[in-house]
Amino acid sequence: MVTLTIDGKQITVAKGTMILEAAEMAGVKIPALCADNRLIGFGACRMCVVQLKGRRSLIPSCFNPVKDGMEVITNSPEIIESRRGQLQLILAEHPLDCPVCDKAGECQLQDLVYEYGVNDNPYRMKAIKKAVERLSPLIERDMNRCILCGKCVRICNEVQGVGEISFINRGIKAYIGTDFDRPMECEFCGQCISVCPVGALNSKMFKYKTRVWDLKNETTLCPYCSNGCTLVLGIKDNEIKRVTGNYDAGINEGNLCSKGRFGYEFVSSPERLKKPLIKKDGRFEEAGWDEALNLAAAKFNEIKAASGADSIGGLGSARLTNEELYLFQRLIRQGIGTNNIDHNGRYQGLLALRESLGACGSTNSLHEIRKTKAILLIRANLNETHPNVRIEVNLAVNRNRASLIVADNKRTLLSRQAQANLTYKPGTEVALINGIINQVIKLELADKTFVNNKTEGLDALQTSVERYTPEYVEEICGVNKQELELAARAYAKAEKSCIIVATGMGLVGNDRDIALASSNLALLTGNVGKESCGVYILPEKNNSQGALEMGAVPGFLPGYKSVKKAGLGTAEMLESGKLKAMYIVGENPILTYPSSKVKEILEKMEFLVVQDMFMTPTAELADVVLPACSFAEKDGTYTNLEQRVQSLKNLKKILPCPGESRSDLEIFIDLCTRLGCDVDMQQEIKAGSLAISSAPNFSRDTWKGKFIPVEYGKDASLASDGKLLLVSSPSHLYSGTLSAWSPYLLGIGEACIELCMNDASRLGVRDNNMVVVSSKNAELKLKARISHDVPDGVGVVHTYPTINVMCLFGKEMMPIIGSVEQVI
C-alpha cells in the first residue's frame, strides 16, 4: 500500500494505482477526457495533468502511478492555465453545435469548457469540415465533434476484440474511421458510442429523441443472454429512450452488447398485447381476465378428467424469472398434476457437469476468466452467443497474455487471436477432446497429484482414449497432429486453464458428451476447483440456469430433486402428438423449435393457452392468449451463467404495462388458485430461493471429480455427392422472442448460409444469391454468403428471429447432410 496526499487529503491506495484513480477515491475530481477504467492508459488529452509539490513540471495523472509520500496538487494556476490551453485548442477545431448535439448535457467537453470558463480563443478557427457518416446502421459518426481521445478505437479493440475502427491519417487530418471509409460492418455493440466523451458517435435510435437531462435513469437487468448484464434504462414519457451501461453497477462493468443496448424497442412496441383474447369461431375476441382464466382452468380440468393429467403439458421459457418458473412448475405439477413440463432449451451440457463435477453449471465465476493463462474454447463462437464472456476472453488474451485455443467447426472472430485453431469437421468435438486427452497422457502433462487425490475412474478414461491417437483424430476431425499437440501443451502446461463451451438452441452437437469430455480434460490436468480454472458451460438465455434450478424440466423438481416418473419433454410434447392441451408461456416453438411439424401438432390440440407479450405465430393458434408484461414492468430474479442471482427493478410506475397485461407471476398465481392449488407468495419465494443451488465445495476432502469416458459415436456424417454438411450458427439476435419486435436490432443481422469459395463456385452460387437449402427434414430459402471462415464441404446456416432454420436439423440438432441449390 502507498500513502500520499492529493490536494492535502491523505489517502492510502494499492501499489500501482494511478494518481487519477487515487484522486477519484479521495474524492478529488481531475478532468480526464481519454481515460476509462476499462482501457489501458493512452495519454492523449493531457487534461489530467497535475503537479507534485515543489516541482514545476506537469505530469499526466492517468498514467503516473502513486508513490509513497507524494504530494499531489491538482489545481494550481499553472495547471488551470494548461487545461484552458488544451480546451482552447480543442475548441479551435470543434463546431460547438451543442443545441443540436445529442451529447449536450452529459458532454465532458461542454462541461469542462463551462467549468474553466473558456470564452476566449486566441486561435483562428480554420477547422477542416468533415462529412457526417450516416450510412452505417445504428451508429452515426460526426468527426467534426471528435476530439481524438481514442476511446472508441480502444474499446473496440482492447475490450471487444473487433477492431472495426481506427485512427486514419496523421496530423490535423487524423480522424476515426473504417477501412476505406466504408459504412461500419461490425457487431454494433455500441460500446464506442458509450465511451465517446463528446457527441461524435451517436446512436441513431436516440438521435433527437430527447435531451438527456429529461431522462429518468433506472437500473435493471438485461433480458437477453445468460451473462446477466446490468442495464441503465433512460426513460421518458413512459418509454425507454435509450439503454446505457454503468461501470459501477453490475458484473458487466458498463459493457453491453448490441442486444442489451439496442434491443429495447420491444418494450414500447405498439404490437404489445393489451388484453386477454379468446378465440371464437376462429377469430380472437378481447376478453376480461376472469373470463379468460376461468375458461383456461375449466378446459384444463375438463381434459384432465377426460384424458388424464398427462395429456396436458406446460412449456415455459428460460426468460421467466425464478419466481415465475418456480410457480409455473407448481402450477403444472400440482395444479394440473403432471410432470409434462419443460422449457425450450438445450441444458444437457449443464446437467452433465452434475454427474462429473457435482457442479450445477459453470464451475467458476465470470471475472475469473480474465485472470486465467490458457483458454480452450470448444464450439464457442462467443461474439455471437455470449458477447460479454468474449470480453473476458479478450482481456485474458490481451492483458494477461493467456494462450487461446479455438476449437470450432469454422473460423470465428476469436480465431485471429488464437495460438491454435482446431477447425474440426462438424460433430466431431468429442473425438477431438479425447484426442487432446490422449496427447496430455502421452506427453505426461497430467496433474498426477490432483488425479490421485481428487478424482476417480482414471483407468476407464485411459482405456477409452487410447484409440484417439493423433492419426485417428486427424482422420475423423481433420485436425492435424501438430495443432493437436500444440493445443494439448498450451492448455495443460499453463498454470491455470479453463474450458468454455457455449450452449443454446441454435447450436449443433451432443452437448452432454462435449461437457463430459471437457470435464475429463479439466480433471486430468487438475484444472478444477481452483481460481481461474474450471469448465464453463454457458447457458443460453438470461435465466436458462434458473429454469433448471426451479425444476422447469420433466425430470427434476426444484433444486434438482428427482421426480418419481419423468414427464414429457419439449420434443415429445411438440412432436409426438400425445398431448391434448398445452400451456405455452413466453415461447414461440413454431419459429424456435427444430421441427417444421410443430404447427401441425399445435393445430391439432384440443386446447392451447399461449401467454406472451406479442401475437406470435404460436399465439395465433391458441384458444386463449394471455398478455404478459415485459422484464421492465415486473419484479423477480434471474440466475446468470455464474449462478449469480440478481434482481430486476420493477419500473411499472414509469413504464406502465400496456393495457391490462399482467406479469407472468400474477397470471400464474391467479391460475393456480383457479386450479385449486393455493399460493402463499412468502412461502413460494422462500421455497424458490432454497432451490437455488450453491456452488459445490471443491476444497472439501470428500469432493471427488468423476472421469466419465465418452466415445465419439460416429454421429457425424460426411457429405458427399456434391452435398454439404450443414451446421447452424446461432445469431447474436437469439430466438426472436424479444428481438423480433425490435426493428433496429433486426436490421443488423440476416438469415443466411455461409459457404466457402470452393463450394460456392462448384455449386454456381455467388455472394448474395438466394438459394434453397434442404435437408431430409425441411427446405428453406436463404441468402448465400461466401466466406473464408468456412471449411470445404460445410454450410453454416445462421439463425434469425423471423425464420426457423433449426427445422433443417430436427430435434437431434446434429450436423446434417443437405443440399444447396440456386434459386432460378
Partner: protein, 590 residues
C-alpha cells in the same frame, strides 16, 4: 596480390546519378575487350557530390574517378586499363582526398570499400570476428560492460548510453526477448543509416548478434522503411549469407546461442521511428507512440523485454568489440565518445556523408570538410539546422561549437540523427521554421492535443507571417504554444517539434519582427514579401528572361532594355536564375 578490378559506387546516390548505366557500360567494355578484370559494386563512400565514383584498382595502386558517366567508360578502359595511363582530369582532387583524411571512419569503415553483397569481403575486413570473440570469450554481462565503458551513446537521436540500455534489457526477466534495429530513418535530411545498410549490411547484422547475445534475445527484427528498396535487398542477401555461414540460426559459432533475424518493412511514417510506435507497427497496429513506463526493456514487442537500437549505433558495436572500449573512447569528448556521421546538405560545397570524431567544431565540419558555402563565394554562411525537423538552427556566431551532445543541446538544437542543413543568407529563417514545422505537424500521429492541433496553429501563424499578414502578438503566441507543446506532448516528435521555431526565435528574432512589423523578408525569400525588378544598367536585352517567364510579365525588344510588369509577375524567380548578367533582382515589395 589482389586481382585487378573496377569498383562502381552503387549506393542510392550512385544509382541516382546513373551508376547502373556506368556499371553496364564498363561491363560490356570489359567483355568486348576480353580484359581479365573483375567489376564489383560498393556502397556510398560519402562523397555524394562526386557520384558516380569508380575505383580502378591495379597492382600499381588505386585510382578514383569522379562524376563518371557512361560515355566515359570506354576511355577509362582503353587508356587506363589497356594503356596504363591515368586520366588525371577525371580523378578526384586533392581536396576530395583531404576531406576524407580529416574523417575518422568507424561506422563507415567498410562503406565504399567492400562489396555489400559479399560476406567474404566483409570477413576479409575482420567481419564476424567480433561476434566470435564475444561468444567464445565473453559473458553477456562482460559485453554490456564493454559497451558501457566505450561511452557509446544511441545515435537514433536521444543519445542514451547504449551499454546502460543493454544492461536494463539484460537484467529484465522474460522467457523471450527481442532485439530490434531501428532503420526507419524518418528525418528527411539524414541518410547515413541507408548508406550503412546499403554499403555494409553485415556490420548491422553482427551488431545485432552481439546485442542479442548481450541481452539474451534470440529474435531480431530490422525495421526498415519500405522506401529503401536497395537497403532491403542487400539486407536480405546479407541475412541469407550469414545464415549459410552459420551466423544466424541455431548454435552460432559452435555455442548454444541462437538468433533469428527478420526484416519488417515500415510504412514510412516519421513517427514510426519512435520506439513504442515502431513496436506497435511491428505488431501490426497503427504506429502510434504509447505511454512509458513500461519501457520496452521491461515490456516491449509482444509484451516481452525488447531492446531497440539505431543502425549507426549498431555499426559501431563490432568495431568496439574488436578494438576495445578504450580504443573507441579515445575519440571524442568527455561525455560524447567516438565518432558521429553527419549528412551535409543544403547550400554546401561538398554535400554527402562525413564521419568525424565527436568534439570537432561545426566550423571544421562545414568549412574544412564540407568546403563551405556552395557557389562562387557570393553568399555567406548564415546558419546550420542540426537534427532535422526536431532540431534547431545554429547561427554563425556559434560556429565554433564542438559537435558533442551537450554542447549542441546548449544551443537549443539537438544532435538528432546528424542531419546538417547548411543555409546561406538567401535563406529566410522564418520560412525555414515554417518548412520544418510543416513536416512535423503533418507527421504528428494525432494523439496529443497540443501536438496535433497546437503544431497546426503554430504553422498557421508562421504561414501568415511569411505571407506578410503577421499580427502583433504572434511571436508571444508562438512562444506560448511552443512551450505548451513541449511540455504536454507524449513523445519526442511533439516534444521537439517547436525546436526550429524556438531556435530561430532565439537567434533571429529580428527577422520575425521585420516580417510582422515591416512586411519585409530580410533574406528576400518569402514570395509574398518581394517583387522583382530589372536593373536598367545591366540589362542587355538578351531576351532569355522572356522565354522562361510563364506569364508574360517581361516585355522588350531584342537588344533593348526589358521591362518587368510587377502586376503580372507571379514571383517564380525563373528569370533571375536565367539572367546571366544578374540584371534581375529581388526587392522588397512593401
Amino acid at each position: 596480390m589482389q586481382k585487378a578490378r573496377i569498383i562502381v559506387g552503387l549506393g542510392s546516390c550512385g544509382i541516382a546519378s546513373g551508376g547502373k548505366k556506368v556499371y553496364e557500360q564498363l561491363q560490356q567494355g570489359i567483355v568486348s575487350r576480353g580484359l581479365d578484370l573483375a567489376i564489383e559494386e560498393t556502397g556510398c563512400i560519402g562523397m555524394c557530390y562526386n557520384e558516380v565514383l569508380v575505383d580502378v584498382i591495379l597492382p600499381a595502386g588505386k585510382t578514383t574517378y569522379k562524376q563518371v558517366i557512361p560515355e566515359m567508360a570506354d576511355r577509362i578502359l582503353d587508356e587506363h586499363i589497356v594503356e596504363g595511363r591515368i586520366i588525371s582530369e577525371w580523378t578526384i582532387t586533392q581536396e576530395d582526398e583531404v576531406c576524407l583524411d580529416r574523417q575518422q571512419r568507424i561506422v563507415l569503415r567498410n562503406c565504399g570499400k567492400i562489396s555489400p553483397e559479399s560476406i567474404d569481403e566483409y570477413m576479409e575486413q575482420g567481419g564476424y570476428r567480433a561476434i566470435e570473440k564475444v561468444i567464445k570469450g565473453m559473458s553477456p554481462e562482460m559485453v554490456v560492460d564493454e559497451i558501457t565503458l566505450s561511452g557509446l551513446r544511441g545515435r537514433g537521436g536521444a543519445g542514451f548510453p547504449t551499454g546502460v540500455k543493454w544492461g536494463f534489457a539484460n537484467k529484465s526477466i522474460g522467457d523471450k526477448k527481442y532485439f530490434i534495429c531501428n532503420a526507419d530513418e524518418g528525418d528527411p535530411g539524414a541518410f547515413m543509416d541507408r548508406s550503412v545498410l546499403e554499403g555494409d549490411p553485415h556490420s548491422i547484422i553482427e551488431g545485432m548478434l552481439i546485442g542479442g547475445y548481450a541481452i539474451g534475445a534470440n529474435h531480431g527484427y530490422i525495421y526498415v522503411r519500405a522506401e529503401y528498396p536497395l537497403a532491403i535487398k542487400r539486407l536480405k542477401i546479407a541475412i541469407e549469407q550469414a545464415r549459410t555461414h552459420g551466423f544466424i540460426g541455431q548454435g552460432i559459432c559452435g555455442s548454444d546461442f541462437s538468433f533469428e533475424l527478420e526484416i519488417k518493412e515500415g510504412a514510412g511514417a516519421f513517427v514510426c521511428g519512435e520506439e513504442t510506435a515502431l513496436i506497435a507497427s511491428i505488431e501490426g497496429s497503427r504506429g502510434m507512440p504509447r505511454l512509458r513506463p513500461p519501457f520496452p526493456a521491461i515490456s516491449g514487442l509482444y509484451g516481452k523485454p525488447t531492446n531497440i537500437n539505431n543502425v549507426e549505433t549498431l555499426a559501431n558495436i563490432p568495431w568496439i568489440i574488436l578494438n576495445g572500449a578504450d580504443g573507441y573512447a579515445s575519440f571524442g569528448t568527455e561525455k560524447s565518445k567516438g565518432t558521429k556521421v553527419f549528412a551535409l546538405a543544403g547550400k554546401i560545397q561538398r554535400g554527402g556523408l562525413v564521419e568525424v570524431p565527436m568534439g570537432m567544431s561545426l566550423r571544421e565540419v562545414i568549412f574544412d570538410i564540407g568546403g563551405g558555402i556552395a557557389g562562387t563565394g557570393k553568399h555567406e554562411f548564415k546558419a546550420v539546422q542540426l537534427g532535422g525537423p526536431s532540431g534547431g538552427c545554429i547561427p554563425s556566431s556559434l560556429l565554433d561549437t564542438p559537435v558533442d551532445y551537450d554542447s549542441i543541446n546548449q544551443t537549443g538544437a539537438i544532435m538528432g540523427s546528424g542531419g546538417m542543413v547548411v543555409m546561406d543568407n538567401t535563406t529566410c529563417m522564418v520560412d525555414i521554421a515554417r518548412f520544418f514545422l510543416n513536416f512535423t505537424q503533418n507527421e504528428s500521429c494525432g494523439k496529443c492535443t497540443f501536438c496535433r492541433i497546437g503544431t497546426r496553429r503554430m504553422l498557421e501563424i508562421l504561414e501568415r507571417i511569411v505571407a506578410g499578414n503577421g499580427l502583433e502578438g504572434d511571436i508571444e503566441l508562438l512562444e506560448d504554444l511552443a512551450q505548451n507543446i513541449r511540455r504536454t506532448s507524449l513523445c519526442g516528435l511533439g516534444q521537439t517539434a517547436p525546436n526550429p521555431v524556438l531556435t530561430t526565435l532565439k537567434y533571429f528574432k529580428s527577422e520575425y519582427e521585420s516580417h510582422i512589423k515591416q512586411r519585409r523578408c530580410p533574406a528576400k525569400a518569402c514570395k509574398e514579401l518581394i517583387s522583382f525588378a530589372i536593373i536598367d544598367e545591366r540589362c542587355k536585352g538578351c531576351g532569355l528572361c522572356i522565354k522562361v517567364c510563364p506569364c508574360g510579365a517581361i516585355t522588350g525588344e531584342k537588344k533593348k532594355l526589358h521591362v518587368l510588369d510587377v502586376d503580372k509577375c507571379v514571383r517564380c524567380g525563373q528569370c533571375v536564375a536565367k539572367c546571366k548578367l544578374e540584371a534581375i533582382i529581388k526587392v522588397d515589395r512593401w
